[in-house]
Structures are given as C-alpha cells and as structure tokens.
C-alpha cells in the first residue's frame, strides 16, 4: 500500500517544476505559447488538487477536455432515470449522478420525493440489491467511458449466471477516441498536445492514440493521475514540441500497455455495439456510444420499459458545452460560483468530482480566488 507515495514526493515534484520552467524559458521565448488538453476528468481533478496550473511555466496552458462521464450525459438521460424512479423502479447509481440537473429535477430530488435510489461504490453491489428484492425491478444507471463500461457491462453475464432476472441497465456508455476526433475537427480549437487518459487507456491501450500523432501530428502522452505522473506527462509533451516530434508516449506504463485490456475488449465485442451518441455540450458524435446488442435487449432498461432518451432541456446560461470542449475556463462562465456552486449546481460540470467547474471551484488556487 506504500507504492503511491513515490509519485507524490515533494522534492521530486518541485525539481520537475523547475525543470519545466527552464524548458519553457528556453523554448517558448517569442510568445509562442502552447495549449495542452487533459482529456480526462480525473486529470482535471488532480491538476486542480495539486495546484499544477500554478506551477506551470509561462506559455504552457492546460485546458480540460470532455472526459467527465457525468458531465457529458444529456439531461434527457436523467429525465428518463427520474421517470423510472417515479414508477417505483429501484434505481442504482454511482453517487455523482444524484445531483446532476435533468430538465426539471434531479435524482436527489426524486429520492426526496420517495423514489428508491441506491448509491453504490461498486457495480457488483447492484447484483446484491437485485437479488435481495427479486419481486422488484432494478435499473443500474450505466454511464461512463471505457473504464466504467467494463465492470458495468460485466454485470450482464454475471446476472445471467446467477439467474438475477430483475436487473437491467439504462445505458449511456461513451468512448473517448471519437470525442477526441470531434475536438480535432473543431476549427475553433487549437490543441498542441493531448494528455491522454490513464484508466481509459488501460482498457483501450496506448496505441489507440496513434492516429492523432501520425495523421494529425499532435503529440500524445498517456499519463497517470499522481502529481509526478502529470508533471512528467507535461514534460513529455513539451519535449515532443521542442524536438518537433509527434508520437504516443506512455508515461503510465505501470498500468497501461500498448494493446490494452484484452478481456475487457472481448467483453465489449460480445455484449455491445456502437451507436451515435449525444454528448452534453458536444452534440451528436457518430459511433461514439455503446449500447447492448439485440441479443441482450432484455437487460436494456430502455427496451424493457419502453423509454426513449431525448435530449432534454438544459439551463440556457450554462456554458458546460464550451467548458467541456476546453474553450472556456469555468471561471469565465457568468454563473460560476455566483449562481452555480457544488451545493446548488446549474450544470453537470459543477456536480461530478471530475467536472471542470467543480474542480475549479473546490480547488481554486490562490490566484484565482478573486472570483
């Protein structure tokens, strides 16, 4: 249990910060700033938590990407979940989803109104809940990227095996690479390097990013979530830029391999198929979602209960879309910290621990405190 401390070692971290400063000084002289995107919400969190922006050299900007699964889940999905809760179905969810605003309500409010909504830390808990009340329908709120999709989709064969018939999934699974494609295609965005997700990459493998490096000439580094991982990731990106390279580097080799997790990939192929998916803020991205194949439709809550997931209605002034695309710093949203706070969130980015607005709010660094 002690291995993690090495990646939080203050002396090493500060030495790296100094190294980055020198690197920036020698290479980014003539106002040639670079913008790197951390795609994943857990990176956003860690960057804020360890005040890494404050430690970066001048000319290096980090923008946050669409990698918070809660933030990109459309309001219409929540509306469907709230409706099922109203019908008396047991809704099982990870905690972050409870306070995300749907069109008119949230799951937390549905719970206060008598809805049976259970919060779990592990997808496996859903099996126990469903087994304990066989006469009631149980629906798991199956959102997430590849990392979460693996254990949640894995509930289907497990439930079959244990003959638990009353458990189904309301899916809104999403995959990261199509979202990165969409960002690259956006003419308003300039991304000089991708800090690629840590745990998503453990599933899909570092090679998944080769097209961005080879075809688009964008340097990529897969980095872990500890402060030293992130600093090393930034250093890797900066070096590629200075040396005129565009490659996929894997800083997080203690967890991520080039090919990824074969077992999870086989599971995906067996159970899931791609679908066009609506991302809150980004719109519909072709083949960016995963749904259960027809053969498993009895486990698909949308089929089972005949619900359709519409786009829903989002707060007009919420800028989550631009925040998710890295176009807007959360603090530049007019509602940030004034109307929209973690206790009373307007948009999903303020709810999830991985949301850019929540991270910016919770871990605002001293310079930012003015807002």
């Amino acid at each position: 249990m002690k291995y993690i401390e090495g990646f939080r070692e203050p002396r090493a971290a500060r030495a790296l910060v100094e190294k980055l400063r020198l690197l920036g000084q020698s290479s980014l002289k003539d106002g040639n700033g670079v913008t790197f995107m951390e795609v994943c919400g857990s990176h956003t969190m860690a960057i804020a938590r360890y005040a890494i922006r404050e430690a970066l050299p001048e000319g290096v900007a980090l923008v946050s990407g669409p990698g918070c699964p809660v933030c990109v889940t459309p309001a219409g999905y929540l509306d469907a979940a709230i409706e099922l809760a109203r019908q008396g179905v047991i809704m099982i969810s990870f905690g972050d989803m409870l306070h995300v605003p749907g069109s008119r309500s949230s799951l937390a409010r549905a719970r206060a109104a008598g809805g049976d909504i259970r919060v779990v830390y592990s997808a496996l808990d859903a099996l126990q809940i469903a087994a304990a009340e066989p006469q009631r329908e149980c629906v798991f709120l199956a959102i997430g990227f590849e990392t979460t999709t693996a254990p949640v989709a894995g509930l289907v064969p497990l439930a079959d095996e244990r003959k638990i018939g009353n458990l189904s999934l309301l899916t809104s699974f999403k995959t990261i690479p199509p979202a990165m494609d969409a960002l690259i295609a956006d003419p308003e965005l300039r991304i000089d390097g991708f800090m690629c997700p840590a745990h998503v990459s453990a599933i899909i493998g570092a090679d998944a990013y080769l097209p961005y490096a080879r075809q688009h000439g964008i340097p990529c580094v897969v980095a872990g979530f500890e402060p030293l991982d992130i600093l090393l990731g930034i250093e890797g990106l900066l070096r590629q830029i200075i040396e005129g390279r565009a490659e996929v580097e894997n800083q997080y080799s203690r967890v991520v391999t080039a090919g990824g997790n074969r077992r999870a990939q086989v599971l995906f192929q067996r159970l899931l198929e791609p679908e066009d998916a609506l991302w809150r803020g980004l719109g519909v991205i072709p083949a960016s979602g995963l749904r259960l194949k027809k053969a498993y439709s009895s486990r698909d809550a949308a089929v089972r209960f005949g619900v359709t997931i519409g786009p829903g209605v989002e707060h007009a002034a919420c800028c989550c879309g631009d925040v998710i695309k890295g176009k807007l710093n959360p603090a530049a949203c007019p509602l940030f910290a004034k109307v929209c706070t973690p206790d009373d969130p307007v948009g999903p980015c303020m709810v999830s621990a991985e949301g850019s607005c929540a991270a910016a709010y919770k871990f605002r660094d001293i310079r930012q405190h003015a807002y």
Binding site: M1, I4, R14, Y50, A51, S122, A353, H369
Partner: protein, 338 residues
C-alpha cells in the same frame, strides 16, 4: 428460554425491563451514583464552574475497525468537554434500542462504554433505556452527556488566534471517517483503524503551556478542513496555510481515501486534538505529545498567516509548490459516521 435479542417488552417498564436494566446496566455501572437506580444522580464537584456537553451517536455500522458505537459515545462527549478546557468527570448514558437487536451486540457495546469510561476515569452517573419497534431505529442509538470541572488555567478563545500562531494535531488525520467508509464498503481488512479515544491526556499534557494556547478543537465531522475554515471564516486579516506535504496520515487511511476518492482532510477524527498556540510553545507541546501513547505521529499542520490573499481562507501548499484553497466541506454523500 430467554430471548437472545431485544424484545419490545424490554421497554414496557415491567419485569422484562427490570431484567434488561439489571443485565445491561446495573451489572456494569451499578456501583457508583447509579447504585439503587435513583431518578437522578447527585454529584460533588470541587470547583465552581462546570463544562457541559452532549452528543448523540447514530453510527452505521455499529462496530468498525478500532471500536464500536459504545467507545464513540463515551469519547465523543468527553472530548468535547476536554477541548473546551474541562476535566471530564461524569457521563449520562441514554440508549435507544431497536427491537431485535442481538444481546451479543448490546453486550459488546456496553462493555466498550464501561471500559472506555474506566480508562478515561469518568463515571457513568445516570442513564435511560428505551426500546422502539423494529425499523424505527438502526440497531442502537446512544446519547451521552458529559460534565467536567473547569480547569482554571485554560484561557481558550478562538478570537485570540493571531498571525504567526502554529497549528498542531495530536496524531494521524481522518482515521475514524475512513474506517467507517471502509467498513461500509467491505474493505476493512488491513485498512484504516478508527482513532476513537479520549483526548484528555493530550489536553492535559499541553496544560503547562496554557498561557500560550489559544484554542483547541476535536476535528470530528468535516475533519480538520472544517475546523480550520471555521477558525478563519470572515477574518479580514488572517488566513491559514497548511503544508500538505507533511500531513500525518496512516497508510491504510491514505489507501482507502485514494480508492474512494476522498480527502482525509475532510474525514472525521474521533481521538485527536487540533491545537493553536503561539509559535514559541509549539515544539514543547509536540514534545510532550509525542511521549504519550498514540502520540508518536503528532505533527505541525501549518500556521496562521497575515498574507493578504489568504485572508479568511485556508490554503494548502501542495507537492508541486502551488497552493490551493481548502474549502469548507460541502453536503457530500457520506454515510453516518458518528
């Protein structure tokens, strides 16, 4: 045959009630002021002023690594009295039992109350027992109140805190909160162990330096982050800077916090004192603490700063050398921890 769980009849005031009181209470606490079960206890205090505090305990699960609700109920109230400058002397003990509670659990909890009270040298002086229908409470709830005698030398006042003062903690952070979270999520083995204990020995060890101690608190719900934020809330010329690179953290607590994505700064302690003192007294107090059982990890958390951008804020210096704000804990979804 005798039932092995609590029955509704145990609360009816009749023979069964008698049996329960004798078995549960008199056998453990019947020698002091509770002898003969009078309606009220008469106590004789030495000094003029008393310090008085009460707390209710609804923790789930009832038993966790490092203790059970009984330990918690004793320490919770005596610690509140101790950090307010009182010498804890007497406890009240009110039990609300759910029909169906196994006597084996009740016995373990009351043994814990007896042992914790004896170790802390406080007397259970009065009490009450009620039984409620199944489903009306979660196994067992406890309310305790503690009366202590005011210790003359303490001049504790949060308003006396000033820039330059040092913030000390008597041991590792967040162990109780994380032990509960771990127990709830089935990851108790090898994980965090609750720090549940009396803090009075630590308070007493700091007494020789009382003139330089400004303020003490036990950082329970909301953890150290909540106490520090309360200290500087609304302050216009003082803030707090803590050094995140040298927080005392038990490895099991750190591991579970990382796994669940929680910050030990926000997790409850149930056996620690957070003390603010003049810089000159810090080393002496830390030295005295480190000699006490459980005090080896006592540490300096940070200091009170007059730096203008910090006014009214708590900031943490991170491993990268940047600083972030440590906010008041929000209304997070955490289980009942005390």
């Amino acid at each position: 045959m005798k039932p092995d769980t609590v029955q509704l009849g145990h609360g009816g005031g009749g023979r069964l009630s008698r049996e329960l009181i004798n078995m549960a209470v008199v056998s453990r606490f019947g020698d002091g002021p509770l002898r003969g079960l009078p309606d009220a206890a008469t106590l004789s205090a030495n000094s003029g002023e008393v310090v008085f505090s009460t707390d209710s305990f609804v923790v789930s699960p009832l038993e966790f690594p490092g203790g059970n609700i009984g330990h918690l109920a004793v320490h919770g109230s005596i610690n509140d009295v101790a950090v307010a400058g009182g010498w804890p002397r007497w406890l009240s003990l009110a039990l609300i039992l759910e029909e169906g509670l196994p006597f084996a659990v009740l016995d373990r909890v009351l043994d814990a109350v007896r042992d914790a009270a004896a170790k802390a040298d406080v007397v259970v002086a009065t009490g009450d027992t009620k039984v409620v229908e199944r489903g009306k409470c979660d196994g067992l709830y406890i309310n305790t109140a503690c009366i202590g005698e005011r210790v003359e030398d303490w001049r504790l006042d949060a308003a006396a805190v000033r820039p330059g003062d040092v913030i000390l903690i008597s041991g590792t952070l967040g162990d109780h909160g994380m032990a509960i979270m771990a127990a709830r999520n089935g990851m108790a083995a090898g994980g965090p162990v609750s720090d549940c204990a009396s803090v009075y020995p630590f308070v007493d060890a700091a007494l020789p330096y009382a003139a330089e101690v400004r303020f003490m608190r036990d950082p329970t719900r909301g953890g150290v982050a909540a106490v520090l934020n309360e200290m500087v809330e609304g302050a216009t010329s003082a803030g707090i800077e803590i050094d995140e690179t040298c927080l005392p953290l038990a490895p099991g607590t750190q591991a579970v916090a990382d796994m669940l994505g929680l910050d030990p700064l926000y997790a409850a302690c149930e056996g620690r004192v957070l003390l603010v003192c003049a810089a000159g007294a810090a080393d002496a107090i830390l030295g005295a603490w480190s000699k006490l059982p459980g005090g080896a990890q006592a540490a300096r958390l940070g200091h009170v700063s007059a730096e203008a951008p910090l006014a009214g804020l708590v900031a943490a210096l991170t491993v990268t050398g940047g600083r972030r704000i440590v906010d008041l804990p929000g209304g997070e979804i955490l289980p009942r921890i005390c």
